[in-house]
Amino acid sequence: MTARFILPLIAGSTLLMASQAFGADDTTLERGAYLARAGDCVACHTTEDGKDFAGGLAIESPFGTIYSTNISPDKDHGIGNYTEAEFAAALRDGKRADGANLYPAMPYPSYAKLTDDDVHALYVYFMDGVEPVADSAPETDLSFPFNQRWGITAWNWLFADADTFTPNTSADPLIERGRYLVEGLGHCGSCHTPRGFAEQEKTLDDSDDSYLSGADLNDWWAPSLRGGDGGDGRGVEGWSAHEIAEYLKTGRNAHATVGGEMTSVVAHSTSHLTDTDLTGIALYLKSLSANPAGENATTPDQRRTASEKTAAHLTAAKDLSDGERLYLDNCSACHLNDGKGAERVFPAIDGNSLANADNPTGLIHTILAGATPPATPTIPAQLPMPGFGWRLSDEEVATLATFVRSAWGNDGGAVTAEQVGKVRDTLKPSPLNRAPDANGRLNHDDRDPK
């Protein structure tokens, strides 16, 4: 699918913004603000209730908890004293103004791709467009040896030597724009590229087929983004470029609704990008060859036959297994007997990448705690899935998840009650997962009055 064919498909007022953002009349500051969106800086550098860019968010890493820093232009607590060169060094090389190394929770290996022009625009935005916040974020205090920041120098030497982005002049400029955003500010590989022995992304660009080929992120499967030919038909290889762009813009498309960590990425970053940039990103992802299908991968025909069989069995509702009965009693009203749900409202489970992931944690979490799609500028409504943790035991969730992962054309593995129990232990209180009170009321507020 070519860019020329895609563009007219995507309607939207943000096209206007695109021409503003990159037109000659535009201010550098506005462009910087847009680029900060593309980089999703706010995701890590702002706490849930905190001021923008004041830092302090706790980021779980394999080495301990890393706190994001205050990157507002406050001269004492933020980066107000940074020169543009120091700002560029932090962004691209992971060097603090005092020369110390940043922890690579900061995706500077990706931001290294940024052009000088874009670094300048970001600098102007962070100095002049962001409110200074005079609060210090908590210090990161990892245990030895990870508190030895000098050690990161060797890590950087080994893994973070990426150069500034150089467009391939013979390629479609829109695809190249997409590649720049994906490799650079979008830092998609931080979650979607598998990591190596030193927690480095195995590759920072598409020179290797492991790039964006899917990875486990804190036990939650971040699926492959390689959307080209081949594959097992479970990931974005089954989506059109238009559908990928729609997903990034609205958090939903005909195949899926965003969940997990990606919910915040769509809410704070991709839903604010121009349709042109989203199209570029989508076309670039479609240009990457899909992960090769596994040895036991089913064919589309086999999956279709299996889907019809499950749907017919559920609809007849005779001789049901416990898993089938649990599905009918809890899930089928929205996700329907064919597991296809309703486009853009109730996501399909048949073929769902989370339901088929090797690691079932994301699916278990969704069943137990429910999920809320993001409010995006074009689709602000958030019809949530309620959690079923209050209603189903660990055994029941395991039975249900095992059924869902083997129903229709799915072929994920079985789930045990122990796995469910582990996920249940990590859950926080949530309005989406609460039992009705003794009077059967669901909607009253029973929080302690403050």
């Binding site: 559920l314 509702a317 009203a333 929205c334 309620p386 035991s393 949530s430 003794a438 009077n439």
Partner: protein, 243 residues
């Protein structure tokens, strides 16, 4: 189940099909606790609202309104924890008349078309209604209601229903009438028998099983086009109990 029932049920489902997201958007409870605890035995239950003599009346009255298997075809009010349902309702906003206008003026001789006019919450109606009925039984039979045999208890309930027990003569000052007390009691008993078990009654969905009502499965859209096929599934409750 006979054919006309199935047809009308399908028609009902077809005409009322909607999708309603039933999601609470406030508050939070422990996620590790699971709601579906086994319902208590009626004999072990400690009522939260009714005093022990009131409780004895309630059990004896519910038992006559929906008798158990020995007299009827299905489970009775006591088999299905209906008194527990009523006791719990007394502690709910309903019991306290929280959402009703209760400020007066109370025009006690107003038209019956305007509904009850007395200043009582449902809790008051039960306390006063039970006390007045006990006074009536003492006067009439020299016994408490729960000490009467089944046939006599039926007579008392029939007298309440027909408003032949004069509450005013027994000391009631705010014009609560026997028939009003009876209708509350009957209404709440039916509710406890038929409502979802999450509210305390309809233990193990016994009344639903008897009726063939499939319960709180959120949608029956697949059955709109399945004609002349008996619905094969037992009920499911709000807490996920399967019958």
């Amino acid at each position: 189940m006979s054919q006309p029932d199935n047809t009308s049920r399908r028609a009902f489902l077809r005409n009322t099909f909607t999708l309603i997201p039933t999601v609470g958007l406030a508050g939070g409870v422990s996620l590790t606790a699971k709601a579906a605890e086994a319902p208590p035995n009626l004999s072990d239950y400690q009522p939260a609202f009714f005093k022990s003599d009131e409780w004895a009346f309630l059990l004896a009255a519910c038992d006559r309104l929906i008798p158990g298997e020995s007299e009827g075809k299905g489970p009775g009010a006591l088999d299905t924890n209906v008194p527990i349902f009523i006791d719990r309702q007394m502690d709910s906003p309903y019991g306290h008349a929280e959402r009703w206008y209760m400020q007066g003026p109370f025009v006690l001789d107003g038209s019956p078309d305007l509904g009850f006019q007395y200043p009582y919450t449902p809790r008051d109606v039960y306390q006063k209604g039970i006390a007045l009925t006990q006074a009536y039984c003492q006067k009439q039979y020299g016994k408490r209601f729960e000490q009467l045999d089944a046939a006599t208890r039926d007579q008392v309930l029939q007298a309440l229903e027909a408003n032949q027990v004069d509450f005013a003569a027994l000391g009631e000052t705010q014009k609560l009438e026997a028939s009003e007390f009876f209708s509350s009691l009957l209404e709440n008993t039916k509710e406890g028998y038929l409502a979802d078990p999450i509210h305390g009654g309809n233990k193990h969905m016994a009344s639903w099983k008897m009726l063939g009502f499939p319960g709180a499965r959120a949608s029956y859209r697949d059955w709109v086009d399945q004609h002349n096929v008996d619905y094969p599934l037992g009920p499911v409750s709000l807490t996920g109990e399967r019958g």
